[in-house]
């Protein structure tokens, strides 16, 4: 999702991460990572498992000390020991960080009181969050009786009790039903509309595309690409693919020198033209002609020619590779 009316932040405003580095012994989990979440902006942070997303978030919220780099909150260096600064952040951890033995209301009241909410204000905020997350009817039930989606919504709501300026979400929609997912994404949009900056880490590309104004793709701790969805996808534009039948091995070698071959599940081969994510904006007809000539000379049957826009998922896979991650 892009927001054409989104106002650029004033200089220094927002949550700014600069040249962050964190390693565990020889393993560099985050390497020279920089990005910025402006007020009202939703920044999607995507990367394969072990890319460094969670470590990055841990460093931001002060649970890990960075080896290098800085984190600034509205221009001020973020000090995790500073209570006021901590209260500007709302954290939605990946796991369900709620007490199963306490009711939804008791959970909310407890965490709200830790942020200094008392009396009527606490009651009001608890009711607001229950309403926002659709848990009002179940407020006095324990999470042990909740569905996975309800638990996720409660987990999310706790981070909003104290009206933080920035919310950090670490895969908040894992394992929930479409209704709960839609509710959470709506809530995130509402936060953004109120001027709350959101850092949203997820594996779900459709969610990122649906709610994020900007996206940062990271892998092996490094930032691969960053920008609005339009910017990221414009860079690759559409791709042309020629679907062909069986091909002799000598033709494979020729084709590989001028295009990318991709084996499909049905046994056919796909010749991708313009697979390279360069910045050119026109189809390379000469390259296409060369491929067609090779195929014609070898009498390789052409099953079809397709064009399609690159999705965020395609871009993500191209940038991070198809190799399985642990």
């Amino acid at each position: 999702m892009t927001d054409p009316n989104h106002n650029p932040a004033k200089r220094g405003e927002g949550l700014e991460v600069s040249h962050l580095r964190k390693s565990y012994g020889d393993l560099v989990a985050v390497d020279d990572l920089s990005f910025r979440v402006r007020p009202g902006e939703i920044l999607g942070l995507i990367g394969p498992n072990g890319a460094g997303k969670s470590t990055c978030m841990m460093v931001i919220i002060g649970l890990l000390k960075p080896d290098a780099g800085t984190i600034k909150l509205n221009g001020q260096p973020y000090d995790a020991s500073n209570r006021e600064m901590r209260s500007h952040l709302g954290i939605v951890p990946q796991e369900l960080a709620i007490y199963p033995e306490l009711t939804a209301r008791q959970n909310l009241r407890f965490f709200g009181s830790l942020y200094g909410l008392r009396g009527q204000r606490l009651d009001k905020q608890v009711d607001y969050v229950l309403d926002l997350t659709g848990l009002t009817r179940n407020a006095d039930h324990t999470p042990s009786t909740f569905s996975g989606g309800m638990c996720r919504r409660l987990n999310f709501g706790i981070a909003l009790l104290h009206e933080p300026r920035f919310v950090i979400l670490d895969e908040p929609t894992v394992g929930i039903d479409p209704q709960s997912r839609t509710n959470l994404l709506d809530c995130i949009r509402q936060l953004s509309a109120k001027g709350v900056g959101v850092l949203y880490a997820s594996h779900y590309m459709e969610e990122i595309e649906a709610v994020c104004h900007r996206v940062a793709i990271i892998d092996h701790g490094r930032l691969l690409q960053q920008g609005t969805l339009d910017e990221l996808l414009d860079r690759s534009q559409a791709e042309l693919s020629i679907r062909i039948g069986e091909i002799p091995s000598d033709v494979v070698a020729k084709l590989q020198s001028m295009a990318t071959l991709q084996q499909d599940a049905d046994g056919t081969t796909r010749v991708l033209v313009r697979e390279n994510l360069s910045t050119q904006k026109q189809v390379r007809l000469t390259e296409m002609q060369s491929v067609m000539e090779v195929l014609g000379q070898a009498d390789v049957p052409i099953l079809g020619i397709e064009t399609h826009e690159i999705s965020l998922e395609t871009l993500f896979l191209r940038l991070t590779g198809r190799k399985l991650r642990d």
Partner: protein, 407 residues
Amino acid sequence: MGIWEITIKDLRLILKDRGALYTLLALPVVFIAILGMSTGQLITTHEAAKLLKIGIVDENQGFLAENVFSNIAAIGGLKAEKVSDRDEARLRLQDGRSSVVVYIGKEFDSKVDDLGMRDIFDSEHGKLSRGLAAIDMQVQSGVEFVGASELVEYVVLSAVLRVVAPEVAKRNPIFRRMIDRAMNEEDDEEVARHEPSPKPVKAGPSIIYQTLVPAFMVMFAFFLINIMASSFINERKLGTLRRLQTSPISSVELLFGKTLPFLFVSILQSLILFASGKIMFGMSWGTNPALLLPVILMTSISATGLGLLLATIVRTESQVASYATFLVIVLAGISGCYMPRAWLPELMQNISLATPHAWALIAYQELLTHEHPQLSVVFQCCSMLAAFGTVSFAVGCVRFQKLEYRQ
């Protein structure tokens, strides 16, 4: 800010955890009741075992021989029993029912009649210089008490003299007049001067629980470290610890908040055990029960401090189970929770002072078993317990602050 909220939340969670409540509050009472009925008897048996068991074979059956038996029976630290004959006496020595056997022969009366004043007063040349054999008496000890027979012979001889000497003296007119006069003039004074024979060690239910209740109360106070460490592990597992760490409260506040509920539970546990000890088992709270409160408080502080330290060391439930159980059992064993501290070898007693348990036990022993407990001892013990608790808590805080959350 935050401490009280975390405390209330954890108390609420503990109250909802019936298993933990049972372990902390009911189990110790059940445990003490069962042990009181079984191994607790060892304490009374041990007290009885401290008495030297003397079997007396009275072949004479005379008045004087009966008096000798009564005098021996009145000596503190001895348990005198009549034995029918020499064969029975030998059997008792063999199987340990008697430590020493004293034989009063048939000629005891006549031998006493033959004694003169010189035999009584001249211990070097009189007939009694040959020992009890001179009056047809004999002492024989069992295998466990070889060497004790000579000592017992002296003790028995003194008892015999108390009986025999007046009889011999009465046969001499001068001594008889002196004795009569002295008896008339100093009768009252004599009664006042007469020291009552030492009472045997009281062997009843209360003495068992007087020892058992504080010992197991201390052990169970430290049993709490198990549940406390589990509470931290659970917070970590749920991810709520991360929420707590990122909320605007300091680490120290967080740790105080996590520690206080267990301190309250520990104090409640101790109060319940003392109440149970008094109501169910008839134990005494000592001459000044109010002084038990600071000891209970300091013991609980030291237990929860240690619990917090352990909570910052362990990372998994299995580590909690192994470390905490090891600590609870070993520290209780070293310190003397399983048996009276006096039974421990001196070296062990000194080593045990490295444990907070030992200081708690010393304080309770002082308050519960001494009519006039020394406040300085109690104060020293409380100070040591407070120091254990404070140091453990401080080290735990430092460890907690240095811990990094790892994926």
